[in-house]
């Protein structure tokens, strides 16, 4: 259903104004002290002008780092249980990179593959994604090795590609995208003869994902994982900035009268992730935890869903205190 248009440089102001008037919340990458963070914005001037990516991924829009699932109160002979229904506002996520936009589809597979996750689905339902194609990339990027690309439309409702002389090429991709267009139809001008590919960053594929997936079962006992993970500190930075890492912890915060149940981000890189109550830990060393991270994303998930649990954004590499470069490690595994 793709229809392609042009937006002038000032069209975004018109769009943002219409969204605000219509009661929408707009989230976008902002920059303070060199930190690019997704925050609420009112107009396009608040959006970071030059940024490769935000540090944290946009996943927290649908899967927050801390989410209350339910709460309860206890009185003698009675328990009062309260389901958590977050107050949700129609939200536009502006400026999501194509890799991040694709991340929502991966998360959706995890949260809704058998029973439907109420909170995640509710947040996703009210979310419209305005993607922004990449015109630059760095050494950590490898979207094209995992089925994406700097101008990939996957996950976006509307995808903007910056034009060299200002303004954007705009692809309306879904019904949600059409709804945006319907808000300000006049700013969507006809576009002809624009070579989108020429506008995009060049990200050369470095490994074949399907071949890697086929290869991994045979590499399970390889020394490679211990070697790669020697410098790994065992923190959760990679998982917490990742747009597709979906593992969570359930914690109860309670006293004798009341409490709440929380869902929190968790990471297979952390020692406690698999620690049993007995004290036994089936993934006792960092090499096993690192292998699990690679295998979940490139072996187990693809076997079940036919695609990688990775969008090649490279956030984990940039966030890692000791430069555990995922692209490099996967390329190494592919050639092993």
């Amino acid at each position: 259903m793709t229809s392609t248009f042009k937006l002038s440089a000032s069209a975004l102001e018109t769009l943002f104004a219409a969204l605000s008037t219509g009661g929408w919340r707009i989230l976008g990458p902002t920059e303070t002290d060199g930190r690019v963070e997704v925050r609420e914005v009112k107009n396009p001037s608040q959006v970071a002008s030059q940024y490769l990516q935000s540090t944290l991924s946009a996943k927290e829009v649908a899967f927050p780092k801390v989410e209350r699932l339910l709460s309860y109160k206890m009185t003698p002979g009675q328990v009062e249980l309260q389901d958590h229904d977050p107050e949700l506002q129609p939200t536009v996520l502006f400026g999501a990179r194509p890799c991040e936009a694709a991340g929502f589809g991966v998360l959706d597979k995890v949260f809704n593959w058998d029973s439907r996750d109420k909170l995640f689905s509710a947040r996703l339902r009210q979310l419209t994604v305005i993607g922004l194609s990449c015109t630059q990339a760095d050494d950590a990027c490898f979207c094209t090795s995992v089925g994406g690309g700097p101008g990939s439309t996957r996950g976006s409702d509307l995808l903007l590609t910056p034009l060299p002389k200002g303004g954007y090429l705009a692809e309306v991709l879904t019904a949600k995208g059409e709804a945006l267009q319907a808000l300000v139809p006049a700013v969507f001008e006809p576009a002809e003869g624009v070579d989108k590919e020429a506008l995009l960053a060049k990200v050369e594929p470095v490994f074949d994902r399907a071949e890697l997936t086929a290869k991994l079962p045979g590499l399970f006992a390889s020394e490679l994982w211990a070697e790669q993970s020697l410098r790994c500190l065992g923190c959760g930075a990679c998982a917490f900035v990742c747009p597709t890492c979906a593992c969570f912890d359930i914690q109860e915060e309670a006293d004798t009268k009341q409490g709440q149940r929380l869902r929190l981000w968790d990471s297979c890189g952390l020692r406690q992730f698999t620690l049993h109550a007995s004290g036994h830990n089936p993934r006792n060393v960092q090499a096993e935890r690192w292998r699990q991270r690679v295998y979940h994303k490139f072996s187990y998930f693809p076997q079940r869903f036919g695609e990688a649990m990775c969008v090649g954004c490279g956030k984990c590499t940039r966030a890692c205190p000791v430069d555990m470069n995922l692209k490099e490690h996967l390329t190494q595994a592919s050639g092993a």
């Binding site: 065992g234 930075a237 914690q251 929190l264 205190p321």
Partner: protein, 267 residues
Amino acid sequence: MDVLRNKARDLLAQGQVQVVIGYEAGTSGARRPSFARSEADAARLMWDADCVGNLAGYLTRPEIKKMGKAAIVANAATLRALLQLTAEHQLAEGAVLALVVTEEGAVLELSNAQAVTEQVATLPSSLSAADREKLERLMALSREERRAFWEQELQRCVKCYACRSSCPMCYCGSCTMDCNRPQWVPVASHELGNLEYHTVRAMHLAGRCVQCGECGRACPVGIPIHLLTCYAEESVRRQFGQPAGTSATLNYALGNFRPDDQESFIR
């Protein structure tokens, strides 16, 4: 750099050490930890002004200990951490060979605590001028303003524990943060959980932080969290006269009980 590589190669070839912990080239020109165990590995070692990370944290890790005797390419912060770890009985005296590349490009071999202590005494403070300025700017604020600053910063925290994992002095095999019977500190990265975590960590590092700034560099969301532990170290130094990372023997101020303590609350 060749002097360092040759030294590492010789140490490995002669079996004096089984691993040389140093730096190698990483993504986009970054420097990252490297573990040279063969002559070929030694050729990857790097040394330049970008080798700022504190590598001492690896010395207490089981995977590294298993390799045998280690040499470590040490910048000023790493040397201080070596002393502090020795003082806290985490490293045996002489267990690690420190390799220091001098400004002239020579490689010094510091094989015992005394040699490291003497080297550290010649070095300026670890805290960079930029961090010193940030710390002073914070100290000039009122209590309320400072609290507001940290609340604003800590709301970014996602509790990935990169600060703890990267800290050479956070070597506890089991951290109070991970204790769930009872749960002393909330696990969630909400306001209270973050405030308690970082306060506890700063207090535990009071007087022990070697001011390497590793936690601040490690933080993926850019919280200058090292300023808390650096300040706590300086506070103990001022009040108890104990600078961290300058000696391999220490009566740690906050881990010491004396019946004649000047404070009545502790007697």
